[in-house]
Subunit: 308 residues, 2 copies
């Protein structure tokens, strides 16, 4: 980590995130507004979750990864917007009563609390599909559209985010068959899939959007893997150490429901050690990318601190 | 309708459907088997719904539409397989307790009755995403992959099948605001979206896979619209006139829950008149396609009779 004052960093990364967020939101609003024939209730439910408060982490990673390898922010906007559609779809479904059963998300009632389970399921389904519609219609180069679509589908699907969610949701029921060693392997697999796959895809899709060569794409891949783990470990730690009001969602419930997390399994101290290890790996990747990765570096550091 | 004996038609269309089904299933089995890293429970749930008994109507329409405009069956297999993934995803989600709440589908317990709601939701999500993964990786021509992906996403998404499902699911609650005239418009909109969009896309995607020109694509479009309505009207009629055992699912429940259907709104006689009108439109489109559309024509006729 840099020795520069936190305040300077805090200002910088805030301006950067504000910029990537407003570009992504403008792109998403244009895209959603231009869909004809969407039933009003479905549109409202989609917009409730898509344009609610959110940090837009994945779009920022995609846009700044593109910049880090010499691309423009504009080139990465379709990837950024598609990633956010997938992320929002996953939040809406993960919050459902049969999954994590959350009433609160980003300080507001969850989608199914407002619109009911049926509409929430369908709004999530719609955002899943819309991500691929967006990629298919927003890129002038078909070969690039196919590459991005394949990358996003694999990161989202049964061997990616959705696969991670099933392991996470079903873990409490499956727990009795696992030993402690299997627990750590399970935990790592869940994290790699559930949060990691889409974060990694964000970095890779930014690079692909900027037509990065294989060498740069490999660095972005390694960065994405480390950042994904950092992000999830910080999230696990916050569930143990924060209050509901600070996070805008219910805390302390992971342990309550027997969910597998780093602090539950390793304790807070060892969890912090793993966090530092992953942060160093991210640091090394960022250093290899050079000066064009400075904005990306600031945002990655802020994510690791989970600053407000 | 042709004057040829039903028996001859029945034999022909069965052989044709058996052929398109076995090609599609082989393609889908290869595709699913080659996905690495899918959690076992999720794979089992996906395969339960994807490879259960099913008529494979959409794959047949795609493959035979390709043939009708001079293409090979092989060219249409990615489209056929992707369409079936989307169709199966929609069945799994539509059957959920918060939607149609069906316990029985194609004579077997529905996915959520076997695996629980969480797994069923995630299996549906996975099949939705897998359809786009399949299109992105199965076609050597990126421009064709993008066209098919766009066509499928639009037919599936909030202005297509998913939009139709929300109207259908929420209709009983919204009913009081609609007059009789609005009812018919609502019914037509629901049918056009919920079943029609994907049937129409099947015919169009077959044509696109075969690199059909605009004139042929327009005919396939008109055929698809008529077939979609025929299919839905026959389904509505069967709910009124059939038994549970014959259909392999619960019947007579549409009227029970105040669902909007043609027989509920127009009565059986007028519903049959509308069915005949749509069948004639399909007939006209098939005639314009010429002799290469003969297998497609046999299957369309069989669908209209809903033969076993």
């Amino acid at each position: 980590m840099s020795d520069a004052p936190v305040q300077t960093h805090a200002l910088d990364y805030r301006a950067i995130l504000q910029n990537t967020t407003s570009r992504t939101d403008a792109f998403l609003r244009d895209f959603i507004a231009s869909r004809d024939g969407v039933p009003a209730l479905l549109r409202e439910s989609i917009e409730y979750s898509l344009f609610g408060p959110g940090k837009r982490v994945r779009p920022a990673l995609a846009i700044l990864s593109a910049q880090a390898v010499g691309g423009t922010p504009e080139a990465a906007l379709p990837a950024a917007a598609a990633l956010e559609l997938i992320h929002c779809f996953s939040l809406v479904h993960d919050d459902l009563p049969s999954m994590d059963n959350d009433d609160l998300r980003r300080g507001r009632p969850t989608n199914h609390k407002v619109y009911g389970d049926a509409v929430a399921i369908l709004a999530g389904d719609a955002m899943n599909t819309l991500a691929f519609e967006l990629l298919a219609e927003s890129l002038s180069d078909p070969a690039l559209a196919v590459k991005l679509s394949l990358e996003l589908a694999r990161a989202t699907g049964p061997a990616g985010m959705i696969g991670g969610q099933i392991l996470d949701t079903c873990y409490p029921q499956l727990k009795h068959v696992d030993s402690q060693a299997a627990d750590l392997a399970s935990l790592q697999r869940i994290h790699r899939l559930k949060t990691g796959a889409l974060i990694r895809a964000a970095c890779r899709m930014g690079g692909i959007s900027a037509q990065a060569d294989a060498w740069h794409l490999q660095i972005l891949d390694e960065l994405g893997q480390a950042v994904g783990l950092v992000f999830q470990i910080v999230d696990d730690l916050l569930d143990v150490t924060s209050s509901d009001a600070h996070l805008g969602k219910k805390t302390g419930k992971d342990a309550d429901i027997g969910k597998l997390t780093y602090p539950v399994l390793l304790g807070v101290e060892q969890t912090n050690a793993e966090l530092n290890r992953q942060q160093k790996l991210a640091e090394q990747a960022l250093a290899r990318l050079g000066p064009a990765a400075e904005p990306l570096s600031l945002v990655v550091h802020a994510l690791a601190r989970r600053d407000k």
